[in-house]
């Protein structure tokens, strides 16, 4: 492979051809600042508009200051990253950006976690000249069920546009207007609710300022907790327990399950349960559905729709309701674990403790912003009482814990409550791409073949590649599994399904790159994909350490069926735990 030799800040380095100055500098330990450049290696996600001009450097022989993120290294190049000319340029450009930005750091939800704030601090900006007469670009604020947009704070980094258009292929956000009033918004500056937005929250996950943030549901949760007439139940998603610690200074991938349960109890929740329990439940229902469809399909039943698609991800559900409504009979009818939990909690559990469902408040802690929207869907309620009342994100929970003066580092591990707190390793791995289908395979295999699995780990289903496939041998029957994470990758598989060309029997789709561990509500990764990989590894590690690793072995699940549901896909199970989908293709048309 061809290599290039160059010098950066008087240090020599040899790099492969095609390396940019920014990347070469990083290899030398030189951290050139940037606001818009973002590269998630391994996930093929790169945002490189070269628009912020903060990463500019001095290069011998070049008249201007080129952006290091977009300039390839050349042989013999001499680069200086912090001459007075460069520092003056960087600071002046930063002053420009700050001059068109609201000065409300003190009350902004991104304060302390904002790339712009950190950069201003790092560059030592102490004043912004000309403020007495400087115009600022202002826009109408927009609050949707999951995402809040405050475009006054947009710095045109284009990361959200890249995620929404290129990665997710949803197309809700793009640059609008020209010049000073340019910003990134839905067409005609419409509200998000009237756009094809799936609420996946990837835009929020990458926004360097407070322009895109989550809707805050802590006040509602606080009110419920303070209400003596309410029994407040909390459920926590698998992806939360391997990321929450980051908000308290721990390394990415620290497993804080026990501390999280302890914190939630300290916050005053009456019952601290685990969404993983409902994940095992989802496997029971969806696994049964998979085997039923597959069985009928192999016998030649034309009404059996194959492939079956997983349906636990509400961003993904929105995506196919907008873009592939003709295929709405193809996904599994099983609800998501969050919603299954809510349905069971407000029926089975409410009965058990003698509480009216109207006096029970179910709160979910999710890595996801689409869950805020999901729990508001009309079909997930009984007589206007939702199965899940509020969904709060990992970030909101961390803030909530801090407001209660708790540092989780000091807490001793505690267990979840029962009967909705026990889970298997299969449930834990729901939080990462490939995890749901691996959990399903573990159960489907044993139920279908009647044999015990010799090897529980299906490593062929794991990894970060956007589209993956594997064939699992079900005792002589080859079952083709497809996996996609990131909606752009899902689209590729769905196009095949629509054309009748899909080779898969079952497909797992997660809207967020990496799966739920990379969800829109997680602690921000700030463009470092190692964080996502560490979280995924932690989930597989937790799975390995669990005594029970297959969903159908969960004793509390078995008890739930015996006492209440009967068997998977029974009439009761169907009524409480299954749903149907809607044709929403009008959502992809934006009317002025």
């Amino acid at each position: 492979m061809e290599t290039i030799k160059l010098t950066i800040d008087n240090k020599e380095i040899e790099v492969p051809k095609g390396t940019t100055i920014y990347q070469a500098a990083k290899m030398l330990g030189i951290d050139i600042p940037t606001l818009c450049y973002m590269h998630l290696d391994d996930m093929n996600i790169e945002n490189k508009p070269a628009g912020c001009r903060i990463c500019v450097v001095e290069v011998n022989g070049r008249k201007n200051l080129p952006p290091s993120c977009s300039t390839d290294c050349q042989n013999g190049m001499v680069v200086k990253t912090h001459t007075t000319r460069v520092l003056n340029a960087r600071r002046t450009v930063m002053e420009f950006i700050l001059s068109d930005h609201p000065k409300d750091c003190l009350v902004c939800s991104k304060s302390g976690n904002c790339d712009l704030q950190s950069m201003a601090h790092r560059l030592g900006i102490r004043e912004i000249p000309g403020q007495e007469f400087a115009a600022v670009s202002t826009y109408r604020k927009d609050t949707s069920p999951s995402i809040v947009r405050d475009l006054d704070k947009c710095i045109m980094c284009r990361r959200c546009e890249t995620m929404c258009n290129t990665v997710q292929t949803v197309g809700a956000l793009s640059a609008v207007n020209r010049g000073f009033m340019a910003t990134v918004a839905p067409a005609f500056e419409q509200n998000l609710e009237h756009s094809p937005c799936t609420y996946c929250g990837q835009c929020v996950a990458v926004c360097p300022t407070g322009a895109l943030t989550e809707v805050n549901h802590i006040p509602q949760v606080l009110r419920a907790l303070a209400d003596p007439t309410k029994t407040v139940v909390v459920q926590t998603a698998p992806a939360v327990r391997v990321a929450l610690g980051e908000e308290f200074g721990m390394e990415p991938g620290s497993i804080v399950t026990g501390k999280m349960a302890a914190a939630l109890r300290a916050l005053g929740f009456d019952y601290v349960f685990d969404t993983d329990f409902a994940a095992d439940l989802t496997i029971m229902e969806e696994g049964t559905e998979l085997l039923d469809r597959l069985g009928r399909y192999l016998k030649g039943d034309k009404t059996a729709k194959i492939p079956i698609l997983t349906s636990c991800c509400p961003g993904w559900v929105n995506f196919f309701e907008y873009y592939f409504p003709d295929l709405k009979d193809v996904p599994s009818t099983a609800k998501s674990p969050q919603q299954m939990f809510g349905a069971i909690s407000k029926s089975y559990f409410a009965d058990k403790i003698g509480v009216n469902r109207k006096d029970m408040v179910v709160v979910s802690i999710m890595p996801c912003l689409a869950k805020k929207y999901e729990c508001q869907r009309d079909e997930f309620s009984v007589d206007n009482n939702p199965d899940v009342d509020y969904s709060i994100s990992t970030r909101e929970l961390a803030a909530f814990i801090k407001q209660a003066n708790i540092d989780i580092n000091t807490l001793a591990d505690e267990d979840f409550d029962n009967p909705l707190g026990e889970s298997t390793g299969a449930a834990v791995i729901f939080g990462t791409t490939g995890g749901v289908i691996e959990a399903a395979v573990r159960t489907a295999y044993e139920v279908f073949t009647g044999k015990k699995l010799e090897k529980i780990d299906f490593t062929e289903l794991r990894g970060m590649e956007g589209v993956r496939s594997a064939t699992i041998d079900f005792n002589g029957l080859p079952v083709n599994i497809g996996i996609a994470h990131g909606l752009g990758n899902a689209r590729k598989l769905l196009n095949d399904v629509r054309a009748g060309k899909s080779q898969f029997h079952a497909i797992e789709v997660m809207a967020c790159p990496g799966g739920c561990i990379g969800g829109g509500g997680q602690p921000l990764h700030h463009g470092n994909s190692e964080v996502l990989k560490a979280r995924a590894a932690a989930l597989y590690s937790e799975d390995k350490n669990k005594p029970l690793r297959k969903s159908h072995e969960n004793p509390f699940i078995i008890k739930l069926y015996e006492e209440f549901l009967g068997k998977p896909n029974s009439e009761k199970a169907h009524h409480l735990l299954h749903t149907h989908y809607f044709d929403k293709k009008e959502k992809i048309i934006i009317k002025k």
């Binding site: 070269a50 628009g51 001009r53 450009v93 420009f96 950006i97 000309g130 020209r178």
Partner: protein, 597 residues
């Protein structure tokens, strides 16, 4: 064509067109028909003559009689007097501005004497909607020569040797650009003509497209042959409907004659051209933004390298050239690189088309050899400053350029000399400024434009230009300080240094150039809070001269804000804190008692 003994050429450029030159053509034809002369005298609607100040133009051939400011009603006189009786219509002849005598023909006009019309060779001579007239003047001969006698490498060498440089503003060597596109291997390549002429007031490209569209088509085909492309695209701004129409007609005719399409002239060479339309964005004149606009994306520039020669339209090797650059190509091929490079200066060969505008007598379009001095352009060809005012400066290069002052008048015009003088050639706009023009306001005027046209992608241009514009506004209102001048300089230099594309990299040029060449004027605005040119309203004070004021109260009655107080027959006084400087009082005063300080 040879059967006609006389031709009446009527200018059909947009300027003359809007002064009813169409009607002149109709009336002339009617008159000729009435007199039974239609097979002896032909009336032709041509492209722009360039002498826009005095349009509509009618030129009589073969004697080169040059009639100016012709009205449709004059058609009868022209036919009866000049055509039939051979007597020139003196009242319609152009009058020399110095001796006021009528000039008998264009060869004796100061406006045309120093011009060398290569790019504009056919403008004003042929009917641009008739391909036969283009062919009769050696049209498509260059393409024929290239296809039958020259290899692509030969052709590129000829263009390189000619020294031709891009006329869109950057001045990049054209031959080298073609060579780079040729070098990159690809199954598909594109030739793109940048006809998005966006500089305010510029109409060089428009005149070529309207007056001689085939010259561009032929050049694009030659380029396609040289670089290995069979697809040509012309990106023309939608605000040029006449140019679009002329191009559509020309393409259709060329295709009919087998000069575009498959197997051109039976040589097996395929090349066709299609049009793409701009949508009102100056930034889409930047080649990468133009390419993205054609791809259906937002018209924003992207980082170079990679340059379009390597990765352009649909990521294929693409050669983008300006209209004017291309229009000279057929002549270079036919007359040779040696001839072309004998015109101009050492590093800038050939001619340049300039659009003269502003406070000059002969507003219009000219083409002069590189190396012509500014003095010659302004005072000889341009006819000097109108209304006898004093020359103050000439702004070149549009919003990307700077202002040259009196001390630069003897500079031979070429790319490098203008850059050394603190400006650029740009696309050829020249705005002449006189003593009544305020240089601070001029700088702000250009920033008004670039702020509006910035695409918004990069921070220094999106926000920096806005701040420059605001600060200049503050200075024009008397709210600036000396420190602000330093701020202007620093912001301008940083924007130039960090902007992503040519728009931002050059938008501070007017500011830096004006501050360099007219520093005293800026200092007057911030230190004395005065506008020496008498232009900035906020810095003007309307004062009543007690010696002349008779107390008629006319001014007080007309003042819209009640700023004037005074008793009948007593000297009146204007309160500067209320006065809005509308000037109504000065207009009303019959005693010349109100002046501006």
């Amino acid at each position: 064509m040879s059967k006609y003994s006389m031709h009446l050429l009527v200018c059909g450029g947009t300027g003359c067109h809007s002064s009813e030159s169409d009607a002149i053509v109709c009336n002339l034809r009617d008159e000729l028909e009435a007199k039974g002369l239609t097979d002896k005298v032909q009336v032709i609607l041509t492209g722009c003559f360039g002498f826009c100040e005095k349009g509509p133009i009618v030129k009589v051939m073969p004697d080169n009689t040059f009639y100016v400011q012709v009205k449709p009603e004059d058609a009868q006189t022209i036919v009866e007097e000049h055509v039939i009786k051979g007597r020139k219509v003196t009242r319609l002849l152009y009058k020399d501005p110095v001796n006021k005598e009528p000039v008998s023909d264009s060869k004796h006009m100061g406006f045309f004497k120093k011009q060398l019309r290569i790019v504009l060779r056919n403008c004003g001579f042929i009917n641009p909607e008739n391909i036969d007239e283009y062919i009769a003047r050696d049209g498509y001969m260059a393409l024929g020569k290239v296809l039958s006698e020259m290899t692509p490498e030969d052709t590129i060498k000829e263009i390189k040797d000619s020294g031709q440089r891009g006329r869109g503003g950057a001045g990049f060597p054209t031959g080298l650009k073609w060579e780079l596109a040729r070098k990159n291997q690809s199954d598909e390549k594109y030739v793109v003509c940048n006809a998005d002429e966006g500089d305010p007031g510029a109409f060089m490209d428009r005149s070529v497209l309207e007056g001689d569209p085939h010259s561009v088509l032929e050049a694009m085909a030659i380029c396609g042959y040289s670089i290995g492309a069979s697809n040509g695209l012309i990106y023309v701004r939608a605000e040029y409907p006449l140019a679009i129409h002329r191009l559509q007609v020309a393409i259709k005719q060329a295709r009919e004659y087998g000069l575009l399409g498959n197997n051109i002239m039976g040589t097996g060479f395929n090349f066709d051209i299609n049009l793409r339309y701009g949508a009102g964005a100056f930034v889409c004149g930047e080649e990468t933004a133009l390419i993205h606009s054609m791809e259906g994306l937002r018209g924003e520039p992207t980082v170079k390298p990679p340059f379009p020669a390597e990765s352009g339209f649909r990521k294929k090797p693409t050669n983008v050239n300006n209209v004017e650059t291309l229009a000279a190509i057929p002549v270079i091929i036919l007359k040779g690189a040696k001839w072309y490079s004998s015109i101009g200066t050492e590093k800038s060969k050939g001619t340049k088309v300039f659009a003269l505008a502003g406070k000059i007598n002969n507003v219009g379009l000219i083409e002069v050899p590189m190396g012509t001095t500014l003095r010659e352009v302004v005072f000889e060809i341009g006819g000097g400053i109108r209304n006898g005012k004093k020359f103050k400066g000439v702004q070149t290069g549009g919003p990307s350029g700077g202002c040259l002052s009196e001390k630069h008048l003897d500079i031979p015009i070429d790319y490098d000399n203008l850059v050394a003088a603190g400006s650029i050639m740009g696309s050829g706009g020249m705005i002449i400024l006189d003593e009544d023009d305020c240089m601070v306001s001029m700088a702000k005027f250009y920033l008004d434009f670039t702020v509006e046209e910035s695409c918004g992608k990069c921070a220094p241009c999106r926000i920096g230009n806005k701040r420059l514009n605001e600060l200049l506004g503050q200075i024009c209102e008397g709210k600036g300080t000396l420190e602000d001048l330093d701020r202007l300089k620093n912001m301008s230099n940083v924007i130039k240094d960090t902007a992503l594309c040519g728009l931002g990299q050059t938008s501070p040029n007017p500011v830096l150039s004006m501050m360099e060449n007219y520093r005293e004027e800026f200092e007057a605005h911030v230190v004395d809070k005065k506008c020496p040119a008498g232009h900035c309203r906020s810095l003007m004070e309307y004062v009543i001269n007690p010696d002349n004021c008779v107390g008629c109260t006319a001014c007080a009655r007309v003042c819209p804000v009640g700023a004037i107080k005074g008793e009948r027959k007593e000297t009146h006084k204007i309160d500067p804190s209320i006065c809005i400087k509308c000037g109504s009082c000065k207009e009303k005063c019959k005693f010349d008692a109100i002046f501006i300080r």
